[in-house]
């Protein structure tokens, strides 16, 4: 269970998040929608403990991600915006690095590699990969350690439509066994993957409820919630 209670965040004099409250239950797939600059990434960073809220509290399974950083991060797989990777490493080296940092046994590594379709590029340097493959490598690393909570921040940004569809299919498969938060500004992603929609605009949550049944419904909801 993820609980955000009256979270606010200020950077110098600018208020980026204002009074965000959210409860995410086990097994939910949340589509976290908002225009650019709405506060989606800041919210994701606060959930994983990378940033500290200016006020309010965060709990991941009753643990504060700042005070119990290691324990919380062992439960979370996080794919940051822009998918930062160590370009100087080979794919297998990078995955092994993540396995070692997460103290994972590496038992599931083979199935993760199969699931994300990166078998053919294991011995390639990450810098040589296409954008789509880089995204898959980032995804694979996120799944190491079999985390119960997965957070994706704009996972299909910059990908071609075919790759976007493949990544979404992967996310849908993952969501069957885990709690997933998908932060995105793409309505189609939410339509395809999420079971619940949260819309954030100018640092405030403007909608939190079930996903509309149609794409047009999602579009109308988004327009209303961001107007």
């Amino acid at each position: 269970m993820i609980v955000l209670d009256k979270i606010s965040k200020k950077f110098k004099n600018k208020t980026v998040l204002s009074d965000i409250s959210l409860k995410i239950g086990e097994g939910e797939i949340i589509g976290f929608l908002g225009p650019n600059g709405a506060g989606k990434t800041t919210t994701m960073r606060i959930i994983v403990g990378y940033l500290k809220p200016s006020s309010g509290t965060v709990e991941i399974n009753e643990q504060d991600p700042i005070k119990h950083r290691l324990s919380v991060l062992n439960q979370i797989g996080y794919l940051p915006e822009n998918n930062p990777l160590y370009y100087d490493m080979k794919v297998d080296e990078y995955l092994q690095f993540v396995v070692d940092i997460k103290n994972s046994t590496g038992d599931f590594l083979k199935s993760i590699i199969e699931e994300t379709g990166i078998n053919d590029v294991l011995s390639s340097k990450i810098e040589e990969l296409s954008r789509g493959y880089k995204q898959r490598v980032g995804l694979a690393a996120t799944l190491i350690g079999n985390p119960k909570i997965i957070i994706f921040d704009e996972p299909t940004s910059g990908l071609d439509p075919l790759e976007q569809e493949k990544i979404r299919d992967l996310i849908k498969k993952l969501g069957k066994r885990r709690t997933v938060i998908l932060s995105t500004h793409m309505l189609s992603e939410v339509a395809d993957v999420a079971t619940r929609v949260v819309v954030i605009n100018k640092g405030k949550i403007t909608y939190d409820g079930p996903k509309p049944k149609t794409d047009a419904g999602i579009e109308a909801l988004f327009k209303k919630a961001t107007s």
Partner: protein
């Protein structure tokens, strides 16, 4: 496997497989050897003192060149967010990167062993003095690295980290000499001198392992590593 070692190994592999690493090490080794060897026959003796006298000035450039990317590059490429979202404490991240770069620095330092080996072939060198002097160089590397890593953690810009480190290291080296003699009273200079790295480094060059110097190097290095950890935690 220890997480500190995982990170250290990653850093060592980076330097071993990247032009930055082996070019900087090669320049360091070639430059050090050249500076010593160019006058060896003019000196007419087998003292290694000139090498150990100029090596701090060479390290003043070499160590910041290695260390400038440690955190600056992570901040620039945003891999710092990736690293800090993995279950590893900030102090272990800093220690891992510090040890990895430290080990690589020792590999580069080992390339200067050609100097005492060559001199020993031409004449006789005191093995004990060489060992203790190299130990002093290792302590100096540890301290310079801790300072340079801290500057790297302060900025996204590697060049700024590099130049700031060099400036501070230059001032600490110069403070032990007569650089500030025209502007500061002698008594104050002597007090400042005690707190400079070269003052303690020079005890090793006399063939003495002074506990006070060991404590100096260890505590100042630890201080800069500590404030680097604080800096990393202060990202919020």
């Amino acid at each position: 496997m220890s997480k500190i070692w995982v990170l250290a190994r990653k850093e060592i592999n980076f330097y071993l497989n990247n032009p930055l690493g082996y070019i900087v090490a090669a320049i360091f080794a070639v430059f050090s050897n050249f500076l010593f060897m160019k006058d060896i026959f003019l000196r007419g003796n087998t003292s290694l003192r000139p090498f150990f006298d100029f090596i701090p000035w060479v390290l003043m450039i070499f160590i910041p060149a290695l260390a400038m990317r440690i955190f600056s590059e992570e901040k620039r490429t945003q891999t710092i967010e990736l690293l800090l979202s993995l279950p590893i404490e900030e102090k272990r991240i800093v220690m891992g990167k510090y040890f990895g770069t430290f080990v690589y620095s020792l590999i580069a330092l080992a390339l200067t062993l050609s100097i005492p080996i060559t001199v020993n072939y031409l004449g006789r060198v005191s093995l004990a003095e060489v060992i203790v002097s190299y130990f002093g160089v290792i302590c100096l590397i540890g301290l310079f690295l801790a300072i340079s890593i801290w500057f790297s953690s302060m900025t996204k810009n590697q060049i700024v980290a590099f130049l700031a480190s060099i400036l501070v290291l230059f001032l600490t080296i110069a403070a032990s000499g007569d650089f500030f003699a025209p502007i500061l009273p002698r008594a104050l200079l002597e007090i400042i001198n005690i707190f400079t790295p070269l003052y303690h480094y020079n005890t090793f060059l006399k063939g003495i392992i002074d506990l006070r110097s060991l404590i100096y190097f260890f505590s100042v290095s630890l201080f800069f590593i500590y404030i680097t950890v604080v800096n990393l935690k202060d990202r919020q």
